[in-house]
């Protein structure tokens, strides 16, 4: 019993000691951060690296800047951990690391991204699910990695985003940022990540992330639309928000291959892309899929497995990313139903068929405008229909025929009655005439 009690006391004492050490460490780090003091070791590093123009020629001929702004680093959150935590391969003994040749700037950043991951594991995991990481895995030399958005020697606890310049997003997406800056959201200085998220950025036209982002802030939106818009929920499914809220945009229809069993968009299998080759072989003339070619493409996707597993679901969207960002005040949004619900309406003049590519981005193939108005497409484009705008031409002809019969039969019959009036003593005409 005594031994057990002794051990228990020992554990309590050890815990107290640990708490004291951690508290001391945190307090001293905080104190250091508060007065932006640099450790002696870091000051030694900066002794050389704060010199402007310090650089290194790399194996591929690029020049790597070795300059670190000491004042910015002192203010950054990384001041808490110091130089050696990230640059652990660098020691005073082996510095400069003559043995390790740096192949290029990109290679250096990629190697250092692994260091970021060691502390920021949760965020790195989010990044790995992003379109940026997919591009990186696909070998894109311009796919953004940690250091492309974050300046590691000046990183602050607040987001890396600068509302005035749109940096770092605008570094790659400058035309979109310029379009966005004049929008209702841009004027309110909302960060890109408010809608697109910072690290788990998805391809904009796949998934419901963006629609949910809109509805996340504009919570009473559905009710507000239902007050004036018939079939509001259907519109929410089939029409993207910018299609009405970016009124100057050029709109188009994207017919998306949809898996009815899995209840999601059809995606290319990694390594075996089929969509483009199938679409090309269906589109023998190479002028865009017509109604018959579209039917044949769908048949290809339904060749195996469940009948009608793959169908098409249409969505009205804007033509470019820039247009998608030019959202206006709601008073300027399109409210005139006739914008879409009339024959020849602008949104139905441009049609694509799409699938989700292996990298998460949509892969599109052009289709002819007629696929939206052809009787042949009743089945294949069954999931998309805008009254008036995509009405079927053959039905218009049938209506004219019905009118001709409706008017012609009585007129013809009346004419015959008049011609044979001499014989027709029993027809009511005698009384009326």
């Amino acid at each position: 019993m005594t031994g057990t009690k002794f051990h228990a006391n020992l554990i309590v004492a050890a815990r107290l000691a640990l708490v004291a050490v951690v508290t001391f460490a945190v307090t001293s780090l905080s104190a250091r951060a508060a007065d932006s003091a640099l450790s002696t070791l870091d000051q030694k590093c900066l002794g050389c690296h704060s010199v402007k123009g310090l650089e290194k020629k790399l194996a591929n001929g690029e020049t790597l800047s070795l300059h670190v702004d000491g004042a910015a680093f002192a203010k950054s959150v990384h001041n808490l951990i110091g130089c050696a935590v990230c640059h652990r391969d660098v020691t005073l003994e082996n510095h400069p690391p003559l043995k390790t040749k740096i192949a290029g700037i990109r290679e250096n950043s990629l190697a250092l991204a692994k260091v970021c991951r060691s502390c920021h594991a949760a965020i790195y995991k989010q990044y790995e699910g992003s379109i940026h990481a997919v591009l990186l895995r696909g070998g894109s030399p311009s796919a953004p990695i940690c250091t492309d958005c974050h300046r590691p020697h000046a990183v602050m606890s607040k987001a890396a985003y600068d509302a005035a310049t749109g940096a770092p997003c605008s570094t790659c997406h400058d035309p979109i940022f310029k379009a966005y800056a004049g929008s209702v959201h841009g004027e309110a200085a909302l960060a890109c990540s408010s809608c697109h998220r910072a690290h788990d950025v998805n391809a904009a036209t796949t998934g419901d992330q963006l629609k949910n982002a809109c509805l996340g802030c504009h919570q009473d939106t559905l009710a507000a639309h239902q007050a004036w818009l018939p079939n509001a929920e259907r519109h929410f499914d089939a029409v993207s928000c910018p299609a009405c809220h970016s009124p100057a945009a050029k709109r188009k229809v994207d017919l998306r291959l949809y898996d009815n069993v899995a209840q999601e968009r059809v995606a290319e299998k990694a390594g075996v892309p089929q969509f483009e080759s199938r679409a090309r072989s269906a589109d023998a003339k190479g002028i865009g899929l017509d109604a018959l070619a579209l039917q044949s493409l769908l048949r290809e996707f339904n060749r195996e497995g469940v009948d009608n597993k793959t169908t098409l679901r249409g969505r009205l969207e804007v033509s470019t990313g820039e247009e998608a960002h030019q959202l206006t005040h709601k008073a300027q949004a399109i409210q005139d139903c006739a914008t879409c619900h009339r024959r020849g309406a602008d949104p139905f003049q441009s049609v694509t068929v799409s699938i989700v590519g292996a990298d998460g981005r949509p892969v599109r193939y052009g289709a002819q405008q007629e696929v939206l108005n052809s009787m042949v497409s009743v089945d294949s484009v069954g999931g998309f229909y805008a009254i008036g705008g995509t009405r079927i031409g053959l039905l218009d002809m049938l209506l004219v025929l019905a009118l001709l019969i409706g008017v012609g039969v009585p007129v013809g019959h009346l004419t015959l009655t008049w011609l044979f009036r001499r014989y027709a003593k029993r027809i009511g005409g005698r009384e009326d005439s």
Binding site: W228, P230, N231, E233, R234, D237, N260, T311, C337, A338, H341, R342, R343, G344, S377, V378, D379, V381, G382, G383, F384, Y385, I387, G388, T390, R391, I392, L395, L398, L399, A402, L403, I405, G406, V407, V409, P410, H413, L416, T417, L419, F420, Y423, A424, K425, R426, I427, G428, G429, E431, D432
Partner: protein, 222 residues
């Protein structure tokens, strides 16, 4: 001229509400489908009116259905079970409209309380009231709230399939709305059947022998 009571009040109310509602649905339907070509109403107003009128028509259909289900007048809709007799009578009726009428021949069909439709009418109204009208209601309700009925719409092949069915039936009714009143004008006077649909009484012609067609039944009505 003897008169018989062939159109009871509920049937007359149903008929005229039906007539007005169908006309309103055709006008609003054309407006919805042909924005730009016809601009009587805004698209949105036309959709709202179309939806409301559609529901009125559905309610009115049940007036008709309940009346006939709860009365012995349902006999007027009983099908002729002998195909030979049915087609012979249909042909005679068609012959009358296409030829005999011009020669002043008598209408081969004689109205009575339990037999107010001729063979062609009886067939046409069975198809219209038991197939086309319910199908139009069904597709119309699905299109009224596409999201609510998304599962059923997908099962039927999608919103375009449902809409195409709705439009095909609409096209039929566009033709019907012209032919129906014209045929109704082919009574013993041009206005006889119209008057009857207001008063309930059809005037029947004297048959040889002094009695009038349907007079037995007419007596029981009065």
């Amino acid at each position: 001229m003897p008169r018989i009571y062939v159109h009871p009040l509920p049937v007359r109310i149903w008929h005229w509400i039906n007539a007005l509602a169908v006309l309103a649905l055709i006008v609003t339907g054309i407006q919805i489908r042909y924005v730009g070509l016809i601009d009587l109403l805004s698209f949105r107003t036309a959709v709202i009116l179309h939806n409301w009128t559609g529901f009125v028509l559905i309610g009115n259909f049940f007036v008709w259905l309940l009346f006939y289900l709860l009365s012995d007048k349902i006999k007027v809709y009983h099908p002729e079970l002998s195909p030979t007799k049915h087609f012979r009578e249909s042909f005679r009726q068609l012959w009358y409209y296409g030829y005999g009428i011009f020669k002043g021949e008598p209408n081969p069909h004689h109205i009575s309380v339990y037999h107010k439709f001729n063979a062609m009418q009886s067939m046409a109204y069975q198809v219209v009231m038991l197939l086309l009208v319910p199908l139009q209601f069904y597709t119309g309700v699905l299109l009224w709230d596409v999201k609510r009925f998304a599962g059923m719409i997908d099962m039927l092949g999608g919103v375009r399939v449902v809409d195409t069915a709705h439009v095909l039936i609409f096209i039929f009714f566009v033709g019907f709305i012209f032919i129906h009143p014209y045929l109704a004008s082919l009574g013993h006077t041009r206005t006889a059947h119209f008057k009857a649909m207001f008063t309930g009484y059809e005037e029947v012609e004297e048959l040889a022998g002094g009695s009038s067609a349907g007079a037995d039944a007419a007596a029981s009505e009065r």
